[in-house]
Amino acid sequence: MTENNDNSLIQACLRGEAFGFEELLNRYKNRIFTFAYRLVKNAEDAEDIAHEAFVKAFRSLNSYNSDYPFITWLFKITHNKCIDFLRLKKPNIISFDDENVHYEPEDPNDSPEKALNFKLEYEEAENLLMSLPLLYRETVLLQYRENMTCKEISEIMMIPEGTVKIRLFRGKAIIRKRLETLESKKI
């Protein structure tokens, strides 16, 4: 339903009608801005990135393939903008390879049998998410906040589906471990 609506709005944009652009903006600006914010961790930079992403998407609507959801395409553009920004701003801090990310494997005797009894405030959850390494943060966000499939995430991030699954697994493992630490601190 939304995809059909998106396509009709895109057609309106291609005809040069401002209404189409405005509707698409209203529909997706919060998601794109929030996604960029959670990647670059700064609201002003995120707004600039979201701005650039929308302008690029609108200017290259002719090349948009309507077989794929518009939002996936928009996320892909935003992802690329964020990566460009981070590479430019923090070339030494940001790592884009799984091998370079510090990953603590779980203790097999520990977590699987221990149910997490937590109820975090959203600020705590936000902080926890923000503390994840970029690769896992983005994958976890796209999967659980944006309800994207592994295939869609692999298209957005331009990585194989297998890598997406590994990143999801590792991301969740890190979250679980940190939640356990939080829980033990609270007790």
């Binding site: 600006k29 919060n30 914010y37 929308f54």
Partner: protein, 158 residues
């Protein structure tokens, strides 16, 4: 089983994180960048006039307030000086004022109580339904007679 619970809890935690909004000018900036002329919600002319009216109203109130304060100070200057010279007089006046206020409050309360008693006394044997029916009929008749008159006068004019 517990592993699944953890998974779903994490998914839920991430899935319910809020979305944030960019600044209010976000849409306009993008539409401008796309070459669209962005019209402000209120025209600059109207906006200027609203600001002028607002400023005039505020300025008028400030002037009225200043003049009133000045007038009061000038009229009661001697009293104010006396009070300032003898703070004990001020205290006594304040006590008197408090007493007057409390008396006024009691007067209002007794008046309201009296009004309530009168209304209760008057309405004790009052059956609202027949009164309502009669008044409705009377009002209807009045409206009809007035309307009829107006129709006739209209026809006469023709």
């Amino acid at each position: 089983m517990k592993q699944d619970m953890n998974e779903s809890a994490i998914e839920k935690m991430i899935g319910t994180l809020p979305y944030y909004s960019p600044s209010a000018n976000f849409n306009n900036n993008i539409l401008s960048a796309m070459g669209f002329e962005v019209r402000p919600l209120i025209s600059p002319f109207l906006k200027t006039w609203i600001q002028v009216i607002f400023q005039v109203v505020i300025a008028s109130w400030i002037i009225i307030l200043s003049v009133s304060v000045f007038y009061l100070l000038r009229t009661y200057a001697w009293d104010i000086v006396l009070i300032l010279m003898k703070p004990s007089v001020l205290l006594a006046n304040l006590k008197l004022l408090a007493l007057k206020v409390s008396f006024t409050f009691l007067h209002i309360l007794s008046f309201l109580s009296l009004a309530k008693d009168i209304v209760i006394r008057l309405l004790s044997n009052f059956n609202i339904l027949p009164n309502l029916v009669i008044s409705t009929i009377l009002a209807g008749l009045a409206i009809m007679s007035i309307s009829r008159h107006s129709i006739y006068s209209h026809m006469e004019r023709k």
